[in-house]
Symmetry: D2
Subunit: 375 residues, 4 copies
Amino acid sequence: MRLIISGDSHGSAMFGVLEGFPAGFRIDLDRISWDLKRRRSGYGRGRRMRMEADEFEIASGVWKGYTTGAPITVVVKNRAGNPIKEVRSVPRPGHVDYAGWRKYGLPDLNIYVERSSARWTVAFVAVGSLLKQFLETLDVVVYSYVLSIGKITMDENPNLSIDELIKLRDNSPVFCPNERTSDEMVKHIDEAMRRGDTLGGSFKVIAHNIPPGLGGYSNIFEKLDSRIGAVFMAIPSVKGVFIGREDVSIPGREYHDPFFLKDGEIRRKSNNAGGIEGGLTNGEDVEVTVYLKPIPTLGDPLDSVDLSTMEERKAPYVRSDVTVVPSASVVGEMALSLVLAEAVIRRYGEDEYEKILSSVENDKKGRRWKNFDWD
Amino acid sequence: MRLIISGDSHGSAMFGVLEGFPAGFRIDLDRISWDLKRRRSGYGRGRRMRMEADEFEIASGVWKGYTTGAPITVVVKNRAGNPIKEVRSVPRPGHVDYAGWRKYGLPDLNIYVERSSARWTVAFVAVGSLLKQFLETLDVVVYSYVLSIGKITMDENPNLSIDELIKLRDNSPVFCPNERTSDEMVKHIDEAMRRGDTLGGSFKVIAHNIPPGLGGYSNIFEKLDSRIGAVFMAIPSVKGVFIGREDVSIPGREYHDPFFLKDGEIRRKSNNAGGIEGGLTNGEDVEVTVYLKPIPTLGDPLDSVDLSTMEERKAPYVRSDVTVVPSASVVGEMALSLVLAEAVIRRYGEDEYEKILSSVENDKKGRRWKNFDWD
Amino acid sequence: MRLIISGDSHGSAMFGVLEGFPAGFRIDLDRISWDLKRRRSGYGRGRRMRMEADEFEIASGVWKGYTTGAPITVVVKNRAGNPIKEVRSVPRPGHVDYAGWRKYGLPDLNIYVERSSARWTVAFVAVGSLLKQFLETLDVVVYSYVLSIGKITMDENPNLSIDELIKLRDNSPVFCPNERTSDEMVKHIDEAMRRGDTLGGSFKVIAHNIPPGLGGYSNIFEKLDSRIGAVFMAIPSVKGVFIGREDVSIPGREYHDPFFLKDGEIRRKSNNAGGIEGGLTNGEDVEVTVYLKPIPTLGDPLDSVDLSTMEERKAPYVRSDVTVVPSASVVGEMALSLVLAEAVIRRYGEDEYEKILSSVENDKKGRRWKNFDWD
Amino acid sequence: MRLIISGDSHGSAMFGVLEGFPAGFRIDLDRISWDLKRRRSGYGRGRRMRMEADEFEIASGVWKGYTTGAPITVVVKNRAGNPIKEVRSVPRPGHVDYAGWRKYGLPDLNIYVERSSARWTVAFVAVGSLLKQFLETLDVVVYSYVLSIGKITMDENPNLSIDELIKLRDNSPVFCPNERTSDEMVKHIDEAMRRGDTLGGSFKVIAHNIPPGLGGYSNIFEKLDSRIGAVFMAIPSVKGVFIGREDVSIPGREYHDPFFLKDGEIRRKSNNAGGIEGGLTNGEDVEVTVYLKPIPTLGDPLDSVDLSTMEERKAPYVRSDVTVVPSASVVGEMALSLVLAEAVIRRYGEDEYEKILSSVENDKKGRRWKNFDWD
C-alpha cells in the first residue's frame, strides 16, 4: 500500500492517491467529513478556516460504496483565494522560503510555500480517515489527544476509559481531555494571539487492540519504529517523535514490561515499550507522542533579508493561525492509521477485505506453541 | 542510493550492500576500522566485545581503492560463538521474542533475535563510515556525542569548538565531551552492572557545514525530517528522535531563527530549527537528538511466561551489556550520514564523485537572485 | 522521478502525478493537447472518441508556466457516459474480467474494467508529453511510427530523414510513414470492422540524439533494458517488446556494432544494439519495437460462461474500436520518454532544469580519457 | 519481497539478498546445486566453466533448514582468476565498455565489466532456485527449454507432456527437447566456435498450474506483464520478451481464448494470452518467450577505437563462450519464479509459509459467485 499526496495550496484542489488497498471495504463518507471537520476546527486556527466545510470527492477506486482494489483518488477542493501576484523575495524564518530558493533557484518565494504549506494534510486526513475506518472494522481504535500547548501541559489521567477520554476530548476546543487544562490552553492561545505570537505543543496518538506481530524487520526500514518515524516526521511542524515511555533515565528493570498470565492469557504489567518490541507490535497499545514547533508565521514579524537586494528587512506578515497542535493531532491519527493499515495488509494479503477481517480475528485469539520437526 | 543490511547474528557474517553510490571516490579503510572500533568500544559493553577487532572486507564496487558505481558490498565477519542448540520458549521483556513468534510462529525464540539483535549495526557502521568519509571530502563534518546515560545528563557547553568537543569526546570512555559528567556516567554504569541492571540515555548527532537546499518535498516522505525519522528510528533501542530545539513550549517569536547579514552574507541568529526548514537543509548545522531505552537483557531477569507450557517463568539471562548509548551514538553518525549522502546524490547526480565535489563547492558560495521572465 | 496513474474509466477524471521533476522547465500546453489529439485520432478507433477533445488541467507543480519541483498533477476529464447499472457476470475473453474476479471476488465484472481499461493512457500521455518536451529541449527527439496492423506490414525505408518520416507519419491516418502501406492498413481495418473483428500489430519508438551513459546497473533493475521492459509491458495490449535488431539468428560478427573514427569522433558502423549496451545508452538511437495483440472486445462475440449460473453464454458486446495500434504508438513515445527522462534526472540531479540543460550539452561534446592515480 | 544482487565478477564472491520471504519454508540445498549446475553446463560455454562446481552458502535467513522471515543472503564464491593488471582502453562492441566509460569516466574499461558481466546471474539462479522450489510446493511447475540457437529453430511438439519435455530437455546438451534439433544446434555451435564467432537464440519459460488472480494493477507497474518485462529484460544479452502467442497478425476472433465448461469447471479453448489477462494470471500456463543477442566477445575481434589515443584498433580478445542461450534459459526460470513468487506473497501475506500453502490450495478449488449487498 502506498499513499501519494499532491496539490498546490493555491491550486484548484489537493489530491491523495492510495494504491494497494484491498477490495470489498465499505467506505463511510460521513466519517471522512467528520475527520476533515476535526482537522479544521481546532481552536487557534483562523476563523474562516474553521467554518467552511472541505468539499471532497472520491474520484476512483470505489464502486457503489465499496473499494475495488484500484487506486483510490481523493480530491479535496481548495477554497478560491486571492491569487498571488506579487513576487516575494524576503524569506520568513521557520518556513521553507529560504531553503526552497537555495534548492530550486526560482526567484519567487511564494512558489515554495505552495507545496510546503500544511494544506496538503487535508488530503492526508481524507485518505487516512478511510484507513482509520478500516482499522476500526478490525476492532482497532486509533485516537489522539492534545498533551500540551505552549507552556500549558496536561496531567494524564490513567483512570479514564477510552470512551470517556474521547468524549472529553471532543468537548474540548483544543482536543484536550482535561477540562481545566483545556480552558487554560484556550486562554494561553488568546494571549498569544493578542501578542501576534504562535504556540507549539505536543499530542499523543494511540492504537488500541492492535493484533501482535505486525510490522517487519526483513528490511530494517520496515520496522514499525522506522515507519512511525518516517510518517510522523513528515507532518508539518513536527520536530520530535517518541514511542512509549519518554523517561529513558529509569533503569532497564523498571522500563521493560514483564509478562504474566491472567486467566490463561499472556499479559504485560506495563506498556513502557509503547506497544512495539523489535520493530513489531506486541499486542499492547501503540503509543506515539509528537512534538510540534510553534508555527512560523507571526503577526509581529521577525528579522529577515531581502534576497533580491541583500538588504535587511522584516519578514512579511501572512494571515495565520496561532497554533495547529489540535489540528495536527487529527493528522497524527491518520499517520498512525497509515503505518498500521500498511502493516496489516502486508501480513494478511492485499486483495480481499473479508479475508483480512477473518485473519485478524483469528490472530487475536492467540497463537499456540506447536511442535516442529527441525532438521 | 539505497542501503540493504542482512546477516544473522550467529551466522558467518553481516552484510551491507550500498547501491547507487557514485564512482571515483577513494575509500580510506582505516577510517572504517576506526569507526568500527568506536562502535564496539563504548564503556558499558561486554569486555570481550570491546577487544576483538571486527574483520571486514569490501567485496565489490571498489577498484584499486576507488568506488566504481557498482554496488558496494561490505562483509563483516561474525565471531565464532557457541552455536545455539536449545529451543527457547520463554520471551524476554523488551526483546523481539514474543512479537516475533506472534508474527512468524516458528517455535524457537532464538530465531527472532538473529535478525533483531543489534549485531547488524556493525555492517551499518561499516557502510555508513564510507558515507561519512564522502561527506567529509565535501567539507561536511558529521559527529556525535553522548548527552545522558541513565540519570546522568551533561550540560552542553556552547563555547567549545567542534575540534575541542571531538577531542574531549574521544578521551571519554562513554563518548561524553564533559570530563566530570563522563566520570559520573562511568560510575553510574558500574553501579548498574553490580545490580545486574541496564541503562538508556541520549546522544546528539550534528552535521556541520552542510550545503543548503538538500532534501525534498515532492514526495512528502522525501522531507529530511521524514528520512531522519525513518533511519534513526530503525536503530535498535531508539525510542525518540528530535530535530533542533526540544523545548517547544517557547513561543514562535523565540523559536524561529531570524536572518541577518554579516559581511554581506546571510546568517541566522539562532539554530532552533536544527538546520531543517520545510524538509530541506537551510545551511545551518543539522542537529538530531536521540533517546534510547535501556537495553532489555538483564543480569537479574524479569517475569515472563513459558509459551510452550503457558506457565509463568523468569526470562532467561543472556550475557549482555549494561548500556549501548556510546556505541549507538556512533551508529547515529552513520544514520545522519546516510540521510545526507542520499540527499547530496539526489541533488547533484549519482554518477561521478568529481562532479558532485565541484557542484557542492559551487553551491556553498551562495546563490544570487536572478530575474526571470515569468509568463 | 516517479509517475503514478489513477482514475476509473467511468469516474469523473483520470489523474497523473509526476514526482521529482526538476524546477524551472517551461511547459507548452499546446504540445500536450497535440499529443492527446494524436492518441485519440488514430484510424480504427470509434468515431466519437476521435472527435471530442480531452480537457485537461495541470492542477499542481506549475507556477506561471514553469515547473516548481513540486509534484505535477494532471487531471484529464472523462466524458460523461451512461452510468453502468447492470451487474455483469459473463467475462469477455482477452479482458481482465475473469482474472479480476478471481483476484478480488466482487460480483460484478464491470468493476475490473474501470481500472484495466486503456482509458488511463490518456493521463499517461498527458504527463509523458511533458517529459517528451523536456527531452526535446535537450535536443533529444522521441518519435514513433506504426510498423504493422494485422497482416499488413511496412517495409522500412532507411533513406528517410527523421523530419521526412514524421511528416509522412502525420499525414497517415494510421501513423504509418509509407503512403501505400498506410492505405492498405486503412482498408484492412475497414474489412475487419465489417466482420466485427479486431486487429493487433506493431510499432517502433526511437529516441534520437540521446546522450551516452544514461541508465544504470548498480541495481540490476535500473538497466535501461529492464526499465523499458517494465514501462512498455504495462501498456494495455502489449505482448512483446524488442530493443534493437530483432533477428538474433545472425552471428555475433554481424550483430555487434563496430566502432570507427569519423573526423576524430567515435562512431558505430551499425546500430543493432538499439542504442543500449550493458544497460546504458551508448549514444546511438534507442530503438524499441512493440507488439500488440488485437483488442479483445469484438462486434461478433466469443464463447464464454456466466459465472453466476455457471452456464455457457456469449460474451457481451461492448462498443469498441477495431485497432488501437496507432494510438498505442503515441503511448509508446511517452513510455520511452518516461524511461529516458528518469535516467537523465538521475544522472544530472533532480532539482534545476537549467543545470541539467548545461550538463547534457557538456556531455554531448564527448569525454576525454584522463589519467588517474590508481592506488 | 525484493531481490538485491551484488558482487564483482573478479571479486571474492557474488551475493544475493532476498528480503520479505515468508518463514517456515524448508530449503532443499541440493536443488539449488542442481540449478547452478544446469546454469553452468549448457553446451557452448567455455570448458572450464562447465566443470567446476559453484560453491555457495546461505549465510542468513535460515534456521535449521527453514526460512525465518529474515533476509536470506546467498554467497556464491568466485573462482580465483588471474587478477586484472593492465588498464584497458579499447572498448569491445556489444559490451558495456564504452557506455560505462561515458557514464562514470574512470579510465579503465575493465572496471565496467565487473558489474555488467553475466557472472551475477549465478547469485540470481541460487536465490531464484529457492523461489522455484517455493512455487513447486504450491504445485506450480516452472520450466524452460531452448527454442533456437543461431539459425537452428525447434518445431514445438504440442503432444509432449511436461514430464516428457523436461526429460528430453535434460538429455540435451543445449536444453532443447527435440533430439534432432538438439544435435543440429550442437553442430551449429561447433561451427561457430571454429569461426571464432558467437550465437544468440531464444528460449521459452512456462509456469504451469499457477493460481488465477495473481499480479496487480493498482499501480500500473505491478501488472505481471510489466514485472515480467522488468525482470527478463535485466538478464544479460536479452533483447526481446514476448508473453503468449507471438503472431499478432491474426485477428481478435482467433487470438482471444474462449471460455467453455468442462465437467462444471471453467476452461479455455486456447492460451494465446500466455496466461495473463489485464495484468493478472488467469489460471492458464504463463508463457514467456525470450530472445538473446549473440554474446559480444569474439575470437576474431571487431573494429574499435583506443579511447586513450583516439586511434582505431581491434577490440581485445577475451576468453569466452560461443553461446549462452542454454544457460540463460535456466536464468529465465528464475526470472519467472521471482515474478510469480512475489505476486503470491503479495496476495497471500508475507509472513507464514503454511498460511500461503493453505490459501493457494483453497484458491485453486475455484471461486463461487456470491451475492453482494451493493449500496
